[in-house]
């Protein structure tokens, strides 16, 4: 009868070491975390060359966007296309002009959205401005955009 009267064993979980480890991990992550803006991409057109180019394809002159070096007044821009010439004063205006050139269901523009657009920065133009011009063409709805090689 006495064997049945065993006292209940008190079991307790020692959580102090776990909390220590959890806080150490927390401090580590807080100290090493580095938040940054997400990286996004523009898909760039690489011109077909050599054997990959279709020799029978009709080559319409591309729309060329010239980007000059940045000055205090800003960045001079110019659009050249067949029968079209414009000097937008900002990238927003550049995008608007390009949008006006693009043919859509509701708008009789001169060019399809697949027409080639070439960004032609001057050698001293900033990469930031070159990418801004690229962005303006993407915003206008063109899909076939690339950079033109500069000529020395």
């Amino acid at each position: 009868m006495s064997s049945r009267r065993a006292t209940s064993i008190s079991m307790s979980l020692a959580i102090t070491p776990m909390i220590d480890v959890v806080f150490l991990l927390l401090v580590f992550f807080i100290c090493t975390v580095h938040f940054e803006r997400s990286e996004e991409v523009f898909v760039m057109d690489l011109p077909s060359r050599g054997a990959t180019a279709d020799p029978l394809a009709l080559r319409d002159p591309p729309i060329t966007i010239e980007v000059a070096a940045r000055t205090e007044a800003g960045c001079a821009l110019a659009i050249h296309a067949e029968g079209v010439g414009a000097n937008p004063t900002s990238f927003d205006e550049l995008s608007a002009v390009l949008k006006g050139l693009r043919r859509t269901k509701d708008h009789e523009g001169l060019y399809e959205s697949t027409h080639q657009v070439l960004i032609a920065p001057s050698r001293a133009a900033q990469w930031q401005d070159s990418v801004d011009a690229f962005n303006a063409a993407v915003r206008a709805g063109f899909a076939n955009i690339g950079f033109r090689e500069s000529h020395p």
Partner: protein, 156 residues
Amino acid sequence: MSLIHTRGSARIDSNLTPMIDLSFLLIVFFILVARMGGDQAPPVALPIPHDGAMTPSTATPRIAVNVLAETPSPAVTIGTRRFGTAEADIPAIAATIAQRLRADPKLSIDVRADRTLTYAQVEPALRAIGSAAELVGGTKVTVRVCALGGVSDGNE
């Protein structure tokens, strides 16, 4: 004799469960957002287009061609390999890209150039990519220009 003196010493317990819950939640969050180990993309001050129309960078396999603004002259890095941006460096850059493309033709090429550079300093990398595409011959190469998401304040 009042009852208050017959009580034993008061025992104060702190309830640790909510704190542990919160700590674990924070740790799970940090583990998920942490990027352990260096990838092939060194920190570059990428362009920040105004009202950007970029597409999110998917986790497709890629070759990052980084153009870093270093003094005295910019450098091009691909993985651990390092090149200059002179005309003479273009064939070596192109050969490195072509070698990677032959191993995996589905790789996309990401151009990650510092926004403070001039086009003349970035162009050798673009020309090397064009040369690499010619070297692999006939392969459809996807080239992407990297930029930072978000809207700039127009002063950058």
